[in-house]
């Protein structure tokens, strides 16, 4: 990533006033701000988005799954995740998948080190917020029935076994599998959204459906909080996407604009589809569309045009709607808050459309078939390969992690009575509202 970054930077040299390896205050300001923005997405944005959609008896448990996952995943990231993801492995065959343990506890990194034009310490924190939101996304599929202890064990293992290697493969620099292949994933369509969304589905199937699903009415505690969460996600996502330009540069400007366009178009699209299909547009629908649009544009954000952003956003919303309304009913899995339906599917759509729609502009593109030889079909095949590899790794890794966590905690699922009474009261001894 650093290498790619430097390459990118080089293009702008005539524009920027600094030479490589110097700290640029504007880039540093933007990357620190981006870190704070992405941080906000999990314990505030996603937690409210998910918490609001949960039945009132499980709201605090849902919030705790997100917030607890966040703090644990950050710790895991510092201890070893960063090293596996962004370290360099001496063995070339291992380097395809793992960065090794050279930077465990950030060993070998000093506060004066730079990643391009800003401190590596900031890069570490920025990437840590990505690691943490990814596993938190998965929680949405399994709320209301999983033991909190099992979930915590899953979070710890998954960060090391699934997230870090996938990040390494895609963004790990020279020698990393999909990085070398030239996969385009601007801000984490594969790494974050497909990954987290698919992990959610796998866990949902393994842990089983909530009692009474889908017969029993499972009404959301507060759509208002869900909508507020979606708004905070949108806000934070500017750090996610425009921050993935690794500086306050023109590419960040592209990501900022395409993110705005795709998201607005997606929110509108979901609303309109609902209006046609169910005769009523819902606030939950607008919020869902917004998130689907944000997910879809993530891999494409720095690569596509204004028109491309519209296509990615609208399509992300259509496919998300299909995932949530049609697919889930068809296959009868209980992807409770639609981590799979929205994050995986819209992330997949975005990752593939990045191959189709990426501007053939040498200054924007990353290394890959499209940049090197204008080979769009080849680029699309690389995108296909990358979604395939990521999906496979996530699938296998998540199954393994689940069974270990389940064994360690004496079964992954709460008993029927606990589920009936609600996890807030039984697992946490708290109640969502005391009027």
């Amino acid at each position: 990533m650093k290498l790619k970054l430097s390459a990118l930077m080089a293009l702008f040299l005539p524009i920027f006033a600094f030479a490589e390896d110097k700290l640029d205050t504007g880039d540093t300001a933007w990357m620190m701000m981006s870190t704070a923005l992405v941080l906000l997405m999990t314990p505030a944005g996603l937690a409210l988005f998910y918490g609001g959609m949960t039945r009132s008896k499980n709201v605090l448990n849902t919030y705790a799954m997100v917030m607890g996952a966040f703090v644990l995943a950050i710790v895991v990231w510092i201890v070893a995740g960063y090293s596996i993801a962004f370290g360099t492995n001496e063995s070339a065959s291992l380097q395809s998948f793992f960065g090794g343990f050279g930077n465990v506890m950030l060993d070998g990194i000093t506060w004066k080190d730079l990643s391009g034009s800003y401190p590596t310490y900031v890069f570490v924190a920025f990437q840590g917020t990505f690691a943490a939101i990814t596993v938190a996304i998965a929680s949405g599929s399994v709320i209301g029935r999983m033991k909190f202890s099992t979930w915590m064990v899953i979070v710890a293992l998954w960060g090391l076994v699934v997230y870090a290697p996938i990040t390494h493969m895609v963004w790990g620099g020279d020698g990393a599998l999909l990085f070398d292949a030239g996969a385009l994933d601007f801000a984490g369509g594969t790494v974050v959204h497909m990954n987290g969304g698919l992990a959610g589905l796998v866990l949902a199937i393994l842990v089983g459906k909530r009692a009474g699903y889908p017969k029993q009415a499972m009404k959301p505690y507060s759509i208002l909080l869900t909508a507020a969460g979606a708004a905070l996600l949108w806000f934070g996502w500017y750090g996610f996407n425009a921050g993935s330009a690794f500086g306050a540069n023109a590419v960040a400007g592209v990501a900022l604009l395409t993110t705005t366009i795709a998201t607005a178009a997606a929110g509108l699209t979901w609303m309109i589809i609902e209006w046609f299909v169910f005769k009523k547009p819902t606030l939950l629908g607008i919020a869902s569309g917004i998130v689907a649009g944000l997910v879809a544009i993530t891999p494409a954000a720095g690569f596509v045009s204004v028109g491309g952003a519209f296509i990615v956003g609208i399509g992300g919303s259509v496919i998300g709607f299909f995932g949530v309304v049609t697919l889930k009913k068809m296959f009868k899995y209980d992807d409770s808050l639609d981590a799979f339906g929205i994050h995986f599917l819209a992330g997949l759509w975005g990752a593939l459309m990045t191959g189709v729609l990426a501007l053939n502009d040498q200054d924007l593109l990353w290394d890959g078939p499209l940049k090197e030889s204008g080979d769009r079909m080849g680029q699309f095949m690389v995108q296909l390969q990358s979604v395939g590899v990521v999906a496979l790794w996530t699938l296998v890794g998540t199954v393994v992690v689940y069974y270990i966590a389940s064994a360690v905690t004496g079964g992954a699922r709460v008993d029927a009575e606990t589920e009936e009474i609600g996890l807030d009261e039984t697992l946490h001894g708290e109640k969502v509202t005391n009027l």
Binding site: M53, P214, A217, M218, K219, P220, I223, E274, F278, K280, T282, L284, G285, S288, F321, V324, V325, K329, D338
Partner: protein, 113 residues
Amino acid sequence: MKKIEAVIKPFKLEDVKDALVEAGIEGMTVSEVKGYGRQQGHSELYRGAEYVVEFIPKIKIEIVVSSDEYVDIAIKAIQENAKTGKIGDGKIFVSDISKVIRIRTDEEDAEAL
């Protein structure tokens, strides 16, 4: 003494209360309840899952009065002010009360009302 319980549409509460007070009935206790009956519920929609809400929000008014005369007055006030003519207007139930006490003063029965 008699107790009158009336289940009415929530937005009629203000009118009914005013009419009762005007008719000289100055005490009552109300609670939020949900009713099931002929009135159709509505449906809620969350990401494509449609839930029919069969229980409809209603208000229950409880009034204890000392004489049959007051029972008639109260019923009249409720009937006239809670009626919209549409299904779901609600019901009035009358039953017996054998004793009433005002906690503050220890007064009993008619005096306590």
